[in-house]
């Protein structure tokens, strides 16, 4: 045990002495959360739009007022005819144009059918999509309002309600993703780099020719990064609660437990990578290619898995990050517990055991 503690002490010296890396490790979660929270966002706010109103009657005015009074849109200009639409877009000021057909009010009351055309600037597809959704929802809202007065016998009222993230705050979507990336990075990449550094500098030779048992070396390497990762996870959760007012719906204890599980998954991956890389550079490259990219792209945190081709969808199943993102969203946004997330948790546990077994098998007690 004394040997083991001595080993961990040494690992902490390494981490503390390398001020630059330590600064990055501790600063990165804060920077990423703030970046994702403020800069990269799916929310829309005061988007400039233009109106082309061919009828200019009471109803269109009511709708326009309703849109203008929402905090999402501000009406930049009224244009007179179709030819101006493109010019207006090209000036780059507006993101959408709303076109009311002729005799809007009359058609609506007489024929029960009037149409509005929404043209959006799809050069930024995400925003375009959101804009059209928001406008649609405002229109539906208006429709319900006027239909209250006219009572129809049979009517289906689609009552769309956004739950779990009613304000569509994108930071809530990103927090689980950022957390996953940071934990993966700190746990897997740093562990693999720190083990391969011993190989690169030849100190591994002396460690091997010592009574230290292989598992002691590995656990000793891992412990400091477990602590560092837990610290990072805490910082991320605190930031999302305090700065972005994100509600943690589920049990905090369960969240901590799942975090520790994922940290161990990542660490075992890191150890596995170190067994196949003989220097730091190689460990870093393998970590980036096999861990970071899939975690960012295939975990469903930026790109929805459901819209991927089936082959990629299949691949996402072997990405631990995918399951962790589901778990995090479940706990943080939906407030569900183990009874709903047992399947994902079990998958992560299975993966972790598999990686640990594999790295124990691959870990060499000799140089070959």
């Amino acid at each position: 045990m004394k040997r083991f503690i001595g080993f961990i002490k040494k690992e902490f010296y390494h981490i503390i002495r390398d001020k630059r890396s330590l600064f990055i490790l501790l600063g990165m979660p804060i920077v990423q959360i703030i970046l994702f929270g403020f800069a990269i966002t799916n929310e829309i706010n005061n988007v400039d739009i233009a109106i082309l109103d061919h009828s200019k009657d009471v109803t269109t005015q009511e709708i326009i007022n309703k849109i203008a009074s929402s905090k999402y849109f501000s009406i930049k200009e009224y244009i007179a005819n179709e030819t101006e639409i493109e010019r207006s877009f090209k000036k780059g000021k507006i993101k959408a144009v709303l076109i009311f057909e002729k005799d809007f009010s009359k058609k609506l009351t007489k024929e029960n059918n009037a149409s509005i055309q929404i043209i959006t600037d799809a050069s930024d597809p995400n925003t375009a999509n959101t804009i059209s959704n928001y406008i649609n929802s405002i229109l539906r809202n208006y429709q319900q309002q006027i239909n209250k007065n006219i009572h129809l016998a049979y009517q289906i009222n689609p009552n769309t309600k956004m739950i779990f993230n009613p304000e569509l705050k994108s930071v809530f979507m990103f927090v689980p993703g950022v957390m996953t990336i940071i934990l993966m990075l700190v746990s897997a990449m740093m562990t693999s780099i720190s083990i391969s550094r011993e190989k690169e500098f030849g100190t591994m030779e002396v460690l091997l020719v010592s009574p230290l048992k292989p598992f002691q070396v590995i656990i000793g390497k891992v412990v400091p990064y477990i602590l560092l990762s837990i610290f990072n996870a805490t910082v991320i959760v605190l930031l999302s609660i305090l700065v972005f007012e994100m509600p943690i719906e589920g049990s905090l204890l369960f969240l901590v437990a799942e975090n520790i599980l994922f940290i161990i998954t990542s660490l075992s991956l890191g150890i596995l990578i170190s067994t196949v890389s003989e220097n730091q550079q190689k460990a870093m490259m393998i970590s980036l290619v096999t861990l970071m990219l899939p975690t960012i792209i295939l975990s469903g945190f930026i790109f929805p898995i459901s819209s991927m081709p089936w082959i990629l969808q299949a691949i996402t199943n072997i990405i631990p990050a995918k399951w962790f993102v589901i778990i995090l969203k479940g706990i943080m946004l939906k407030g569900v517990g183990i009874s709903y997330l047992w399947k994902e948790t079990l998958i992560l546990i299975g993966m972790t055991l598999f990686f640990i077994m594999l790295s124990i098998k691959k870990y060499k007690i000799r140089l070959e």
Partner: protein, 300 residues
């Protein structure tokens, strides 16, 4: 028993690193493996320190088999690899402390053993190992390898790249360690260090060419060696190379070591030949061969 190696062979892919190596090191002996880089010294060290499996052959260290009993060997040997395995970002003291704890001991417990070496670097114990000079790193690495009081000490090229003063001090330290009963296997590319060992093995291209005490190895040198000097060294070498009876011509410091093909060598004849080539201050004297002469003869 210190070390016993029998018919050790080892290949990497299609390169043969060691061919049928056999040798014994007695308990308490200072044994030298002498040979240039790439001779297979490090591979042999790694097999004996249980870091590599041999393809063929077997070996014991301190009585333990290198394959079956590797755990006992790891407890009982000290190993200093070719690159000083120090943690550059740890201080002198932290390095030593770390190696002490992983071997389950403390600096205080075995301080006697390392005292003479460590005392020289102790004033700098708060300095990071990466900021030490070559000679100091070497002393620290030796202290680290000794801190658990090993029965057998493996030193792989401990003096490479170290200046002559530090080298001399290092060998004096080894002699003192030997007196404390530690068996030492040391490798070096410096031929002049051979005579400081009790016994040596000359190794080249993965083969041991000769094993004996340095004196015996020199005694068995088959030829008479002559020290030849002249004012212009370069011309002297060229002339000797032209001389039809020459067997070997090797510069040695300010002289040339010369051997003749014939059993009966007439130095006057060579002297006249060199004179005829306008060489000045020619001197020819019989001299004693060195380990380096033997090594060159064996690899010729």
């Amino acid at each position: 028993m210190g070390i016993k190696a029998q018919n050790i062979s080892k290949s990497f892919k299609n390169v043969t690193a060691l061919k049928n190596i056999s040798f014994d090191v007695k308990e308490g002996e200072l044994f030298g493996l002498i040979g240039p880089d790439g001779a297979g010294k490090s591979t042999l060290f790694r097999i004996l320190t249980t870091l590599l499996f041999a393809d063929k052959g077997n070996a014991t260290v301190a009585g333990f088999d290198v394959v079956e009993d590797y755990k006992n060997i790891r407890k009982n040997v000290g190993y200093m690899p070719g690159r000083f395995s120090l943690y550059q970002d740890l201080t002198v003291e932290e390095n030593l402390e770390f190696y002490a704890t992983i071997f389950g001991t403390t600096i205080e417990e075995n301080y006697d053993l390392i005292k003479e070496i460590y005392i020289q670097i102790e004033p700098f114990k708060k300095r990071r190992a990466g900021k030490l000079s070559g000679g100091m790193k070497q002393k620290l690495a030796l202290s680290c390898a000794l801190i658990h009081k090993p029965k057998v000490l493996f030193l792989d090229e401990p003096t490479t790249g170290v200046d002559p003063v530090s080298r001399k001090e290092f060998w004096e330290m080894l002699k003192r360690l030997q007196q404390k009963g530690i068996t030492i296997l040391v490798s070096t590319p410096y031929m002049d260090e051979a005579e400081l060992c009790d016994r040596i093995a000359l190794i080249q291209h993965g083969k041991i060419m000769q094993i004996d005490t340095p004196q015996e190895i020199i005694n068995h040198y088959p030829k008479n060696i002559y020290n030849i000097s002249a004012e212009n060294m370069h011309n002297l070498i060229e002339c000797l190379n032209e001389y039809e009876h020459n067997y070997s011509v090797y510069p040695f410091g300010e002289n040339v070591h010369y051997t003749d093909k014939r059993d009966l060598f007439n130095s006057q004849e060579l002297y006249d030949f060199l004179q005829s080539k306008n060489l000045k201050d020619v001197e020819i004297n019989n001299t004693i061969p060195t380990i380096e002469d033997v090594f060159m003869e064996l690899t010729k």
